[in-house]
Symmetry: C2
Amino acid sequence: MNADLLARFHGVIPAGGVGTRLWPLSRASAPKFLHDLTGSGSTLIRATFDRLVPLAGERIMVVTGKAHRGAVVAQLPEISDENLVLEPAPRDSAAAIGLAAAILYRRDPNIIMGSFAADQVIGPVEIFQQALVEAIHTAATGKIVTIGIHPTHASTAFGYIKAGESLDVVNAPSARGVVEFVEKPDEDTARRYLAGGGFLWNAGMFVAPVGLMLKHLEANEPDLYTGLMRIADAWDTEQRDEVMTEVWENLPKTAIDYAVAEPAAAAGDVAVIPGIFNWDDVGDFAAIGRLNSEDAEEGVITLGEAVRVYADNATGVVYSDRPRVVALIGIDDVIVVDTTDALLVTTKEHAQKVKATVEQLKERGDTSVL
Amino acid sequence: MNADLLARFHGVIPAGGVGTRLWPLSRASAPKFLHDLTGSGSTLIRATFDRLVPLAGERIMVVTGKAHRGAVVAQLPEISDENLVLEPAPRDSAAAIGLAAAILYRRDPNIIMGSFAADQVIGPVEIFQQALVEAIHTAATGKIVTIGIHPTHASTAFGYIKAGESLDVVNAPSARGVVEFVEKPDEDTARRYLAGGGFLWNAGMFVAPVGLMLKHLEANEPDLYTGLMRIADAWDTEQRDEVMTEVWENLPKTAIDYAVAEPAAAAGDVAVIPGIFNWDDVGDFAAIGRLNSEDAEEGVITLGEAVRVYADNATGVVYSDRPRVVALIGIDDVIVVDTTDALLVTTKEHAQKVKATVEQLKERGDTSVL
């Protein structure tokens, strides 16, 4: 790959979501990206960082909550202060990714940024990196490039990308235009997408010249753009904290999809590289079961160093962070998540409903365990 | 009731069984009888004691393991040292009940003892006491009297008593002879017993003159009898500990049913009072569900002061002794028992299988949680 082009690439890792469907393992004080959910020995954020290093070197910026500073630095001890962007409070993905774009733009307007959520599981890494190289080449032609995931089933949990014509980009043979982004479909529509082909899952991966990101942000969310540029202007000065405190809490809260991706697609500025690697957003405990299925012992997956599981006619997933015995008798596909102050017992079939339980806990004011 | 006759009555409470099917709530260090399993506010041993007080006053002897001395005294602060018999190690029910009989016989050969396990749930208490009064009157005619439970279903978990002719005992109109004790039947046999009538559940309640108990023990288990009498002779002397230590560990291990009840029935010496009170031996967590069903909130029974349960399309029983949230989603009849070092997750249907899991834990050497 062209060394000059690669030198322009800068990774961005927004590390924001709590991962509500993985409660009580994942929670405000210990969000999903700080856990090793695949038994790989790496937390999700560490694995995300490591995937980018071969292409980005030290040029990887992490955007996360102030509260997670210590945990993130413990995971990524090599990260420099200038690459660690701390949010005083969550303001959704457009603010997080837009701020990274604005800071990088002020440092060097030629930067091509690549934004990858901190809590996805991807492999083999080499296939991902090949797609990323194609995405960088395509971005250099003046596109916002998303890496779309080949659907493996008719999922209703993800938004889709409708791919268009091949773009004939040099060194990016699989680059195609994007007709549109579509919201999470119902089951019939999802089945139609899968059968018809040409639809990819939107994994929220964006590779683009920072200037192009900001151009679309300015056009669609001018207040957000203005605020972010004010912060970026102060970022590498002594005024950083003062301006951040003043501006951040008044920024519009919106998703990067609405603020940039969808309108940019409508303007013909978005391309897609189909990713043929394995991908999982570890959306719930059923996903954790899938991702660890090779480590199952007689149908039971155990997460946690110290827990000892005894199963009698039972299968499923058990997590416990403590040295205790967990006995399962006569339940299939059970999910047991055992933490100091909260215990979840459900089944794989109901794994998506954990979110509703968390909302119920919130409503009842039982927030100390969230 | 005849005051002289009542003055001869002495309660005996063997408090021995661990209650393996209630693991991990019930365990060697905190057996079943030390728990309040009905939400009554009383532990099972306290409730057993209180049921006997109106008839026995302070004349109630408890036979339990040395290790439980502190817990038992905490539950029964009024118990005197002479009524607390401590076993160095468990040697089955014939040794425990036989030793009580022998000690009481040495103190007063006219005593009528009534032995009632520490871990059964009975109500209404008054109906039980009426049956006990009939049993004492019948015992005074020279019988070993068992109180049999009217079967409410074709249980295969209990032994049965085959009742014979009415005995025409004054003040004990429901006393009948016992033809035989029969072992736990298979399902067909249990259904036949229920349909035919005349069969009662054997709850291990025995009311008898101590001399008659010892006579049958001597005839059927002479070594056990001799050993127990040696201990009884030393009991109220300074040699108690020395003799107990020497003799106890060599005593034959057998159940009171084999050592006394069955051969006594064959000799025509056993009577039965049918008990028409409610009775439960709290044999497993399904029983705990039944016994607390009135306290269910939306199908979930919660045991434990500090636990907060959230159920979404779930029913069952949750026990936790700690202040934590337990969330159940989409499982019916689930049983969750949460203790510091062990967690059980099963369903009511499989409640009886807890015993097998405990045996598996024992086999694998994971005994610290038993």
